[in-house]
């Protein structure tokens, strides 16, 4: 296995809401190997976006990193000074936002926004930056003639490509992509994911791909971390996750999304119920209230994240019965929404 670029260790992130602390990410741990795409998947509100933003340390005013470490190339991102952190931003860790429309400044031309990063953060001269901008646009497949356009003149797909170009501008080690294709239609999604994949291979990048869509994970990610209600519930390589999931939530998630490759014709089965309120999370396993396989133990005691098989981490009391549970999970009736 390749070297580890980033290692998240027992990371907790809390939002202060009134007098209460809401823990959006709770004791999460996982590794990102050098040169791999790691998916971070879960329903909205599971803490995956909070986690992604924590890697840049640009988080909401009322949020704070409460505990844990983020070891990045030998340094703890959580512990370093704001000055040191700012030095790393975009040069080492860049970000692809979900909505490229709102994340490009509407009053400046796209070129200006690329040059801004290349010159302010990359220390390039104007000529160097211009040449690099053209190169970047060619890399992501946009006609460099469109550099002088304003963001609103781009199509949704072009904006997302521009956002990728922007993220690659300074040759970062790690790119955090927050739902980069969610707003696009399936065909464009696939084109952009293909592009991202080939760029990632060519440049030897590490990518964290945040998504709610397990088919995106299946399509592009080497490894996958499944999150539920602020907790990491399963973490292994993607092929294993899809073929032999150990956690019932992963099994349910798999049923709930179409396959990106076959443009999905199968029946989709959503998981009934909704994630728990993080102000007052359930006592035992957080998924227990929605889990068709939950036992008394699940409801009373929280399962720890353990290595159930080689390089396969899961937080479930019944992980050893997974093979049987998988059979049952195939039946839509199990999830209580078959009708």
């Amino acid at each position: 296995m390749a070297d580890t670029l980033l290692s998240i260790q027992d990371l907790s992130i809390a939002y202060q809401v009134g007098a209460l602390d809401v823990v959006a990410v709770s004791e999460a741990s996982f590794d990102v190997p050098q040169g791999a795409i790691v998916g971070l998947v879960g329903e909205s509100g599971c803490g995956k976006t909070t986690m992604a933003r924590a890697l840049t340390r640009v988080i909401a005013d009322n949020a704070r990193i409460a505990a844990g470490a983020m070891q990045f190339a030998g340094q703890d991102l959580a512990a370093m000074s704001e000055r040191e952190m700012n030095n790393l931003r975009w040069r080492d860790i860049s970000f692809i936002p979900q909505s490229a429309m709102n994340s490009l400044d509407p009053v400046y031309r796209v070129e200006y926004q690329i040059l801004e990063v290349l010159r302010d953060r990359g220390g390039m001269s104007k000529q160097q930056a211009r040449a690099r901008a053209v190169e970047l646009f060619e890399m992501v497949g946009i006609d460099p003639g469109r550099l002088r356009d304003f963001p609103h003149q781009f199509s949704g797909g072009m904006r997302q490509r521009a956002a990728i170009a922007l993220a690659l501008a300074l040759n970062p080690k790690l790119v955090v992509a927050d739902e980069p294709v969610t707003a696009l239609d399936v065909i464009i999604q696939r084109q952009i994911l293909d592009q991202l994949r080939s760029l990632q291979r060519d440049l030897g990048l590490s990518v964290i791909m945040v998504t709610h869509d397990i088919s995106v994970v299946a399509y592009i990610c080497d490894r996958t971390v499944v999150m539920y209600a602020g907790k990491v519930v399963e973490n292994c390589d993607t092929a294993t996750l899809l073929n032999e999931p150990l956690h019932p939530y992963t099994m349910g998630l798999k049923n709930a999304f179409p396959d990106l490759q076959s443009a999905g014709t199968g029946v989709l089965t959503p998981i009934a119920g909704s994630p728990p309120d993080l102000i007052d999370p359930p006592k035992g396993c957080r998924f227990a209230p929605r889990c068709p396989f939950a036992t008394e133990l699940c409801r009373s005691t929280e399962p720890p994240l353990t290595e159930a098989a080689a390089d396969h981490h899961v937080a479930c009391h019944r992980a050893d019965e997974a093979a049987t549970l998988r059979e049952v999970a195939q039946d839509p009736a199990t999830w209580g929404t078959a009708a």
Binding site: N102, S103, E116, D120, F150
Partner: protein, 325 residues
């Protein structure tokens, strides 16, 4: 071009508005109590003068004919003769317009410069004690009668401290070779200072509050968050991306403020005996110099309407989402 058409429609609309205002003006001065001829003819004019004016303005004709004569005269810039000055109204107005425009623009430039900076600063300091004290203070400046503020400044800085002259545009007995020389002289500028500050203090609240609330909105935008994630310096984040976006509606409001300011000038010019259009309007109305009052009113209306148009235009021009559609 696609951006030109709505602009042309708007221009046309405002031409219609101008026509409507001109018509209201005509009726207002024609329907006032007393002799309808009084709108143009002073009893002290000589018989020949009266005769000539009756012919020029068709005052012996029915009302509707007078109306068309009036429109025709207006199109040629013919506004009649002032009763008091015995000179053409248009000439008199053109003489006073520069004074009013200088006062208006200088005060608004000061007000907007201060208001934009202070508004951005207040947004930066949101939820602080400083903000809690500053906001009601700013609202109170909007609640002041402008002329009263002028009186207070006049009493303190002119009568008590003697730092500035009490009124007019220059000291008695001084003369200048050209208007440019006058306007750039220390004498003129010291006369300008107090009325300018009066209007500026009153006007800064609008850009300040607008800038502040826009900044608060813009700083929540994704592109500002992205600028932080890019590791750009705080000044680049706040000024280049925050303020630049928040400024757009503030700049548009500048043109509208010119129109409002011109109306506020009416009282402040009176306090400082500033020979501008507003004071002239008041004096003309008080002295029943109808042609002059009508002319001054019309000129103010033209500036107000033009500024409304410029506000639209500015908005289109400054926002690339519209100008590069």
């Amino acid at each position: 071009m696609s951006t030109l058409k709505p602009f042309l429609i708007r221009t046309l609309q405002l031409m219609l508005v101008l026509w409507a205002v001109v018509t209201i003006l005509f009726l207002m001065f024609r329907l006032m109590p007393g002799n309808p001829l009084a709108a143009y003819i002073d009893p002290t004019f000589t018989a020949e003068q009266q005769e000539a004016l009756i012919r020029q303005f068709g005052l012996d004709k029915p009302l509707w004919q007078q109306y068309f004569t009036y429109l025709g005269n207006l199109l040629q810039g013919e506004l009649g003769y002032s009763f008091r000055y015995r000179t053409p109204v248009a000439e008199r107005i053109m003489l006073l317009l520069p004074n009013t425009l200088i006062l208006t623009f200088s005060s608004l430039i000061v007000a907007y410069t201060f208001g934009i900076l202070a508004g951005a600063w207040l947004a930066w300091k949101r939820n602080s004690r400083f903000e809690a004290a500053a906001l009601p203070a700013v609202l109170a400046t909007r609640a002041m009668p402008e002329f009263w503020l002028g009186m207070v400044l006049l009493a303190i800085f002119s009568f008590s401290l003697g730092w500035f002259p009490a009124g007019g545009t220059r000291s008695a007995g001084t003369s200048y070779d050209s208007l440019w020389q006058l306007y750039t002289s220390a004498n003129f500028l010291s006369h300008l200072f107090l009325p300018m500050m009066t209007l500026a203090i009153y006007s800064q609240g609008l850009p300040l509050l607008l800038m502040r609330s826009n900044m608060l909105d813009v700083m929540k935008e994704d592109f500002v968050t992205m600028a932080k994630i890019k590791g750009l310096s705080p000044s680049a984040v706040v000024i280049r991306h925050g303020a630049r976006n928040a400024l757009l509606p503030v700049m548009t409001s500048f043109a509208i403020a010119v129109g409002y300011q011109l109306q506020g000038n009416v009282v402040v010019e009176s306090v400082f005996s500033w020979p501008g259009l507003g004071r002239e309007l008041v004096n003309a109305v008080a002295a029943s110099d109808y042609p002059l009052a009508q002319g001054a009113f019309l000129m103010i209306a033209i500036v107000v309407i033009t500024m409304n148009l410029i506000a639209d235009l500015l908005y289109t021009f400054l926002d690339p989402r519209i100008s590069h559609a």
